[in-house]
């Protein structure tokens, strides 16, 4: 029972990720000119309720979808250049699951569960942003000209801008959403 339940639960999380990546409004909050993703929250929830390995799997699937979409249906002009590198598109997403899972394991027995869940949300979301932009910097530093026709020196400020707008706001969303969603789900799954 336990094994089959986990197998189907994993599959359903993959289904949720599939829906969130394709239906606008469920995976992305369009706010002004920005499009903020809440998919890291799903990955973090998977890590918390199913376990670290499963969180990594769900994150990896999200990365794979991004990777495949970069070839067939790119979501932004930049995606078709950077996400075709799996180290940019897949690896950071796997690590969201790992980081969130490990932090949850350390802190699940402590008293201030809600606060810790917020911190896990922030850490998980920031893992994604920092690693993704870091990878873009490492791999495309010399190629910035081809990327956005901006010169090499401009890539770092550009990435920092993305970080301070998208990255910090996404982390903020994760801080708010993670405890509010995780607490009832933890109660539900531990029944």
């Amino acid at each position: 029972m336990k094994n089959n339940f986990k197998l189907v639960a994993r599959a359903l999380f993959i289904a949720i990720i599939l829906i969130q990546t394709t239906v606008p409004g469920l995976g992305y909050l369009p706010i002004g000119p920005l499009s903020l993703t809440i998919i890291p929250v799903t990955v973090i929830i998977a890590s918390i309720t199913l376990g670290t390995t499963d969180g990594m799997l769900i994150g990896g699937i999200w990365g794979l979808i991004t990777f495949i979409r970069a070839f067939f249906w790119p979501t932004s002009p930049l995606a078709q250049y950077v996400f075709i590198n799996p180290l940019v598109s897949v690896l950071p997403r796997i690590l969201i699951g790992l980081v969130a899972g490990i932090t949850y394991k350390w802190t699940s027995k402590t008293n201030h569960q809600k606060i810790w869940l917020s911190i896990i949300g922030a850490v998980g979301s920031l893992t994604n942003t920092v690693l993704l932009l870091g990878m873009v910097y490492v791999f495309y530093n010399g190629y910035a000209h081809e990327l956005y026709q901006i010169d090499t020196k401009a890539l770092l400020p550009y990435l920092l801008t993305v970080f301070s707008t998208n990255g910090l706001l996404e982390a903020l969303i994760a801080v708010v959403l993670t405890p509010l969603i995780a607490v009832p789900l933890i109660k539900f799954t531990s029944k």
Binding site: F5, V8, A9, I16, L18, G25, W73, Q149, L177, I181
Partner: protein, 264 residues
């Protein structure tokens, strides 16, 4: 809910419908691979011909292909405009302050535009003619070599099938939740970032809870029918590569070689 790319399968009995899903997936990858090597009129013409023949052979209405382009329209336009404005090689056509448009820039932009269209058309042929479950079985077939390194191919493919099966169910449920919340007066498109992210909570919690309930039910049902993880599973539909697959592959490989010969 036909906005989803995966759910757009249209049943039929064309040549493309009858092909092995695994070989269709591989062909799409191969198509995307060779189109990046095309770089002049002749090679792009050849790729266009390949894509159009595939579209015609799939015997589906062109309407669906046009519809497939729509969500990507602004990405395509943006990419093309960037290319036109910032590719400053070749002959200068006109200059407007710091913006220069050159003939090379226009040419590359045109090619990028065609490449976008062709890739979308070709991948749409795949999703229109292949049932999501057939895609899952195709993925299983392609992952088979990984079995040698103890990768759980069968479990993975079962998981993909289950998730594809539940995508429409979960979407229907989400739609019901959204409608229920809107009828209570929740306005999803208003408010600042915090207010809007908080509005996601009454959608996401029921979605997760219902997923866990589905998992419980289906897990129990699988248990009752004696499903054991990791055993060799048989399938209801068995897809085999036929003459059509071999002929199509022959055409595509010859085209691939021609692309390398004819590219400038």
């Amino acid at each position: 809910m036909n906005k989803l790319l995966l759910g757009r399968y249209i049943p039929g009995n064309s040549i493309v419908h009858r092909m092995d899903p695994a070989s269709k997936i591989l062909l799409s990858i191969f198509f995307v691979f060779i189109i990046f090597f095309a770089n002049n009129l002749v090679t792009y013409g050849l790729m266009t011909l390949l894509a159009l023949v595939s579209v015609v052979a799939s015997r589906t209405s062109l309407r669906f292909f046009i519809r497939g382009i729509r969500p990507l329209l602004w990405v395509i336009i943006f990419t093309v405009i960037i290319q036109i404005l910032f590719d400053n090689t070749g002959h200068q056509l006109f200059k407007f302050y710091f913006l220069t448009v050159t003939d090379n820039g226009l040419k590359t932009a045109g090619f990028i535009f065609i490449r976008f269209l062709l890739i979308i058309f070709f991948s749409t042929v795949l999703t229109l003619t292949t049932d999501p479950l057939a895609i899952a079985s195709g993925i299983e077939k392609l992952l088979m070599p990984l079995k040698k390194i103890k990768f759980p191919v069968y479990t993975m493919s079962l998981m993909i099938s289950i998730s594809l099966r539940f995508v429409p169910t979960l979407m229907d449920e989400t739609e019901t939740i959204i409608k229920a919340q809107s009828s209570r007066g929740v306005k999803f498109k208003e408010g600042n970032i915090l207010a809007r992210s908080k509005k996601m909570i009454p959608i996401l919690i029921p979605l997760f809870i219902s997923s866990f309930k589905h998992a419980e039910g289906l897990g129990r049902a699988m248990e009752a029918r004696g499903y054991k993880d990791g055993d060799n599973r048989s399938q209801y539909h068995v897809y085999k590569a036929s003459k059509i697959d071999f002929c199509t592959w022959a055409v595509f490989i010859i085209s691939g070689i021609l692309i390398f010969v004819l590219r400038g």
